[in-house]
């Protein structure tokens, strides 16, 4: 995957008027999330970690996002969504059953635990869940498809895109208060926004991104 915003780091703005104090605290807390599981058992946490790596394979050259720890923390603090599908158990129970079911399916098809499979094989098991092929067993009466779409993908992806690593790689301006934006029209960029690299002008974008702050 090519870096479209070379040299851009949204954290360079942390001490500028783009970040207010509550934002600094929130992002600090998120980056400092305990890496050990507090809700899931360590066995299931290993499966979760493997799932996270398949759902969002992370860039090599930016700080890794502790996705499994963030999902575990969501369950530990019971941060809710505001709704629950009638056919779904509560989120903690759903994750416990779902991860166990992935491990179960990995054993059925590959005679290995999910975390021990190769990437292709893990994707295959995940696709079986996505298509609704998995049923019963550890899942109980929980629909696999709904669990995959609504819990697996949404919970993991949500936490990835709530992190500076993701904001930087996608060239997103990130937090913005009290300073917002001045140049809001098409093809306009404020000096505190990421510069995109177009064909052959990598160096220019990198230089401009060095001034973002």
């Amino acid at each position: 995957m090519t870096d479209r915003f070379p040299g851009y780091d949204v954290l360079a703005k942390r001490r500028t008027p783009s970040w207010n104090e509550p934002t600094r605290q929130v992002v600090n807390r998120r980056l400092a999330v305990p890496r050990e599981p507090r809700f899931l058992t360590s066995d299931l946490f290993v499966v979760l970690d493997a799932v996270c790596q398949r759902i969002v394979p992370q860039p090599k050259d930016r700080p890794p996002v502790p996705l499994a720890a963030l999902v575990d923390t969501k369950l530990f603090t019971n941060l809710q969504d505001g709704f629950r599908y009638a056919e779904m158990p509560d989120q903690g129970e759903a994750w416990r059953r779902g991860l166990a079911a992935l491990d179960e399916a990995a054993n059925t098809h590959y005679q290995l635990g999910f975390a021990k499979l190769g990437g292709e094989q893990q994707d295959d098991v995940l696709r079986r869940m996505e298509s609704g092929e998995l049923a019963g067993g550890a899942l109980g009466d929980m629909p696999a498809k709904l669990f995959f779409e609504h819990r697996v993908v949404l919970d993991i992806v949500t936490f990835y895109y709530a992190n500076p690593t993701a904001w930087s790689e996608m060239g997103y301006g990130g937090p913005a208060s009290p300073r917002g934006y001045v140049r809001i029209g098409l093809d306009r960029r404020d000096p505190w926004e990421a510069a995109e690299a177009y064909e052959g002008d990598d160096a220019k974008a990198r230089r401009e991104n060095g001034f973002v702050g």
């Binding site: 008027p17 208060s177 009290p178 300073r179 934006y181 001045v182 140049r183 093809d187 306009r188 960029r189």
Partner: protein, 313 residues
Amino acid sequence: MTNTRPTGDVATAFALISGATVLGGIALALRKPNAPADRAQTTVRSARRLNRAAGTLAASVLVDSAIEHYRGNFHNKAMITPLVTASLSLAASLHGTADGRGEAHIIRDLIYAGAGLTGLVGTGFHIYNISKKPGRLSWQNLFYSAPLGAPAAISLSGMLGFLSERLRDNPPNKPPTILGIPAGRIIGAMTSLGLMGTVGESGLLHFRGAYHNPAMYLPVTMPPVAAALLGASALGKSHTHRPITRWWLRATALLGFAGTAFHAAGVGRSMGGWKNWRQNLVDGPPIPAPPSFTGLALAGLAALALLEDHPDD
């Protein structure tokens, strides 16, 4: 109905405005009294005053267009033009203000003519810009696209400078004329029109600001009166002492500085205040814009002096 408690920023505004007004008043009071002198001297003095007026306008345009075109990322190379011409016009005006000779200066002349032309071309650019925007000539585009009235300010600066040079061209000891018309009249009339144009621009932008502060009505009420009084002077009997016009023009000149103070206070009360200057200086009320009224009022005063010094009827 509304929440309009004064805040610290409003207090700052009043302090700044009072300060600016007092300073301006002192400056006016300290000026040398108008000693009656021979005609050649009064003509040159008026020309120098026009240079000063042109310079004030040029300074306003220079800073204002720098900020506005910086906002536009200078995405079109031509956007550097007003900065160059306004700088040149400013330099020529400083030179002219210091120049006591009774003849036109070819470089200044060229610069002023160039400034006048730049304004016209700029207006064309801005019209073209609006014509490409969805909605075309709509309130939305008048508010937020390239401002139609802004380039005219550099033209006005060029015009005042050009008139100054024509004034110097007059033979000594004869009532100065420009194109055969008594100089005071033509300068007064052109300045009066310039004032009305600037009122239009300020009225449009203050309408965009919903006249949220009653003081925003000042630039659409005081300068029109000044323009009317000056126009009446330019067209009316010349052999008349006009203290009301003079004081009204002086007040309008002060208004320009007071406007800057108001706008600075406006920047200060925007979110993040001065700490967020990279946003608020650009997005907030334009600090360098109001002195264009000062420049025009100074030109009006010069015209008035010419009318009084050289009665033609």
